[in-house]
C-alpha cells in the first residue's frame, strides 16, 4: 500500500506547490515594477559615494602621499622644489605650499576606486566625487592631467630650482673647505599623515 500512497501523495504535493508558486507570480503581475528608467531617471547617490576622482590642484602641496597609498599605482606626481623667493601661497586648509606640481596625472582606467588616496591627503584636495558617467572613446582621454602649470612656468621653475641647487652645492663645498663648517639648513619636514 505504501508505494501507492507515495504515488498519490507526490501528485498532490506537486499540484499544490505549483499552485502556490503560480499564485505568487500572478500576484507579482500587478505589483508596480522596481525598475528605475536610467538615463531618464537617475538615482541620487549617497554622500559618501566613491566614483571618479577629482583633485583641487590649488590645494595640492605635492606631498606624494596619495601616490604612495595607491595600490595600483595610478597616480603619477612630479614636483619641483621652490626657492625661498617664490611664494606659492597657502592652501585653503592653511598649509604653506613649498613645491611646484608640474605633473599630477591620474590614470582613471587603472583606478580601483578603493579610496585609499583620499585619506592621507593633508589638505583634502583629492576627493572621490559621485560622477560615474565618464566613458571615453579613446583610452588616452582617461588619463586625467590635473596640473595647471604652463610649460613656460615649468621651465622657469625648473631653471630656478636647478640654480638654487647649484648654489647650495657650491655653498656646501665652500663650507666644507672652510675651517669652521656651518650647520646645513635642514628642509622643513613634510608631516607624515595617518589614514583618517
Amino acid at each position: 500500500m505504501d508505494p501507492v500512497r507515495t504515488y498519490f501523495r507526490n501528485i498532490w504535493l506537486a499540484l499544490s506547490s505549483i499552485a502556490i508558486g503560480m499564485r505568487i507570480t500572478m500576484k507579482h503581475l500587478f505589483v508596480p515594477s522596481v525598475t528605475v528608467q536610467y538615463p531618464d531617471v537617475k538615482l541620487k547617490l549617497p554622500e559618501r559615494a566613491r566614483n571618479r576622482l577629482y583633485v583641487n590642484i590649488d590645494d595640492c602641496i605635492g606631498c606624494d602621499q596619495c601616490s604612495m597609498a595607491c595600490p595600483v599605482d595610478c597616480i603619477t606626481i612630479e614636483t619641483i622644489k621652490s626657492t625661498p623667493d617664490q611664494d606659492l601661497g597657502v592652501t585653503s586648509t592653511g598649509h604653506k605650499k613649498r613645491l611646484h606640481v608640474p605633473k599630477f596625472d591620474i590614470d582613471i582606467a587603472k583606478c580601483c576606486y578603493c579610496g585609499l588616496c583620499v585619506y592621507p591627503c593633508p589638505t583634502e584636495c583629492i576627493v572621490m566625487t559621485d560622477v560615474y558617467e565618464f566613458s571615453e572613446f579613446d583610452r588616452n582621454n582617461l588619463i586625467y592631467n590635473f596640473s595647471v602649470m604652463t610649460p613656460a612656468e615649468v621651465e622657469t621653475a625648473r631653471v630656478k630650482a636647478k640654480k638654487a641647487e647649484e648654489e647650495a652645492a657650491a655653498k656646501k663645498a665652500a663650507a666644507a673647505a672652510a675651517p669652521k663648517p656651518a650647520p646645513p639648513a635642514s628642509p622643513p619636514p613634510v608631516p607624515p599623515t595617518e589614514p583618517t
Binding site: I11, G21, M22, I24, T25, M26, H28, V31, S33
Partner: protein
C-alpha cells in the same frame, strides 16, 4: 471553402493558395503579438519593466527583433551536414503549419474541412520531431545532439496523453471533424465539452470531473509538446546553451522560434476547439457571427497561450527521466481511467 462560397469566388488555384495563406498571415501577426506579450508578462512577473524605448512601452520591439534576425549572418558550421542543417527549420515549421489546415478559426473559415480533422493534426504535427532530430544531428555539436534526442523522446511520449485526451473529447462529441465538434458545443458555456458537453443533467454531473481532469491533462501534455518549461529540457538554457538550436543563427533561428510560437497556438487551438467551445460564444446566441466567432476563438487561444507563458516563468525544469515518468506513469494511467469512466457514463 465556405468562406469562398460566402464571398462568391470559385475554387481555382489562386483562391486555394490565398485561403491556405491566411493562417500564415495569422501566424505572423500572432507571433508579433505573442513576442510582445511574453516579454511584458515575464517582465511584470519579475517586477521589472521590459523594453520601454522602442516605441511606446516597447511595442516596436518585436519588429526590431525580427529585423535583427533578418540581417544576421547565416552561418553553417563547417563540419555540419549542410543539407539536413538547412532543411531542419523548414521541416519543423511545415509540420506545425500543416496542422493549421484543419483548425476552425470561425464558423465561416476552416482551411480544409476534412472528416479526420483531429487525426490529421496529430499526424502532421509529429513531423516536428523529425525536424528537431535533423537540426540536432546536423549541427555536429554534442550539446545539440543531447537536446535533439531528449526532445524526440519527450515529444513521442507526450503524444500518448494528447491522443487519449482527444479521444475522450471525440467520444463525447462523436466526430473527428473539428468544425462539427465546435458546432456541437455551440449554444452557450454549458455546452462546452470541458463542462460535460450537451448531455442530460445527470450524465453531465457524473462526467464533469472526468472532463475537467482530461482538459487539465491535455493542457499539460500540450506544454510538453511545444518544449516549454517545465518541459523545456531540449532547449534548456542553463545546460545546453540552446539545445538543438545552438548552431542556428539569423533567419534559420527565427524559423525555429516562429515554429515554436506557432506550435504553441496550434496546441492551444486544438484544446480550445475540443474542450472550450472553439469559436462559439459563451453566451449562446448573443455576440455570435463570423467575425465574432473569430474573436472568441482567438481570445480563448490567447488565454491559453497566456497561461503557458505564466507557467513558464514560474516553474523550474523537469529532468528528462522525471519527464518520462510524468508522461507514462502519471498522465497516461489517469487518462485511461477517464476513457473508461467517460465511456461507461456515455453508455448509461
Amino acid at each position: 471553402m465556405e468562406l469562398l462560397q460566402h464571398i462568391g469566388l470559385e475554387q481555382n488555384l489562386l483562391t486555394i493558395v490565398l485561403v491556405s495563406a491566411l493562417p500564415l498571415v495569422f501566424i505572423l501577426l500572432y507571433a508579433l503579438v505573442t513576442l510582445y506579450l511574453e516579454m511584458k508578462v515575464s517582465a511584470h512577473i519579475q517586477d521589472r519593466l521590459a523594453y520601454m524605448r522602442t516605441g511606446w512601452h516597447g511595442v516596436l520591439q518585436p519588429f526590431a527583433d525580427i529585423l535583427k534576425l533578418l540581417q544576421k549572418e547565416d552561418t553553417v558550421p563547417a563540419a555540419a551536414d549542410r543539407f539536413l542543417f538547412k532543411l531542419a527549420p523548414f521541416v519543423v515549421f511545415a509540420g506545425t503549419y500543416a496542422g493549421f489546415a484543419a483548425i476552425p478559426f470561425s464558423s465561416a473559415y476552416i482551411g480544409s474541412n476534412i472528416n479526420l480533422g483531429v487525426f490529421f493534426i496529430i499526424a502532421a504535427s509529429s513531423l516536428v520531431v523529425i525536424g528537431i532530430l535533423m537540426g540536432g544531428w546536423a549541427s555536429n555539436n554534442k550539446w545539440s545532439i543531447f537536446g535533439a534526442i531528449r526532445s524526440a523522446a519527450q515529444m513521442v511520449s507526450y503524444e500518448i496523453p494528447t491522443a487519449l485526451a482527444i479521444l475522450i473529447a471525440v467520444m463525447i462529441t462523436g466526430s473527428l471533424n473539428l468544425q462539427e465538434v465546435t458546432q456541437y458545443q455551440s449554444g452557450g458555456i454549458q455546452n462546452w465539452v470541458v463542462f460535460g458537453g450537451s448531455l442530460p443533467l445527470t450524465q453531465k454531473l457524473l462526467i464533469l470531473p472526468f472532463t475537467l481532469l482530461t482538459f487539465f491533462i491535455l493542457f499539460i501534455a500540450s506544454i510538453a509538446e511545444v518544449n516549454r518549461t517545465p518541459f523545456d529540457l531540449p532547449e534548456a538554457e542553463s545546460e545546453l546553451v540552446q539545445g538543438f538550436n545552438t548552431e542556428y543563427s539569423g533567419m534559420r533561428f527565427a524559423m525555429f522560434y516562429l515554429a515554436e510560437y506557432a506550435n504553441m497556438f496550434l496546441v492551444s487551438a486544438v484544446a480550445v476547439s475540443l474542450f472550450l467551445g472553439g469559436w462559439s460564444s459563451p453566451f449562446g446566441e448573443a455576440l455570435s457571427g463570423p467575425l465574432w466567432d473569430l474573436f472568441w476563438f482567438v481570445a480563448k487561444g490567447m488565454f491559453l497561450v497566456f497561461v503557458q507563458i505564466w507557467i513558464r516563468w514560474t516553474l523550474p525544469r523537469l529532468r528528462v527521466d522525471q519527464l518520462m515518468y510524468t508522461s507514462w506513469k502519471v498522465l497516461t494511467p489517469f487518462l485511461f481511467l477517464c476513457v473508461f469512466a467517460v465511456g461507461l457514463i456515455l453508455v448509461l
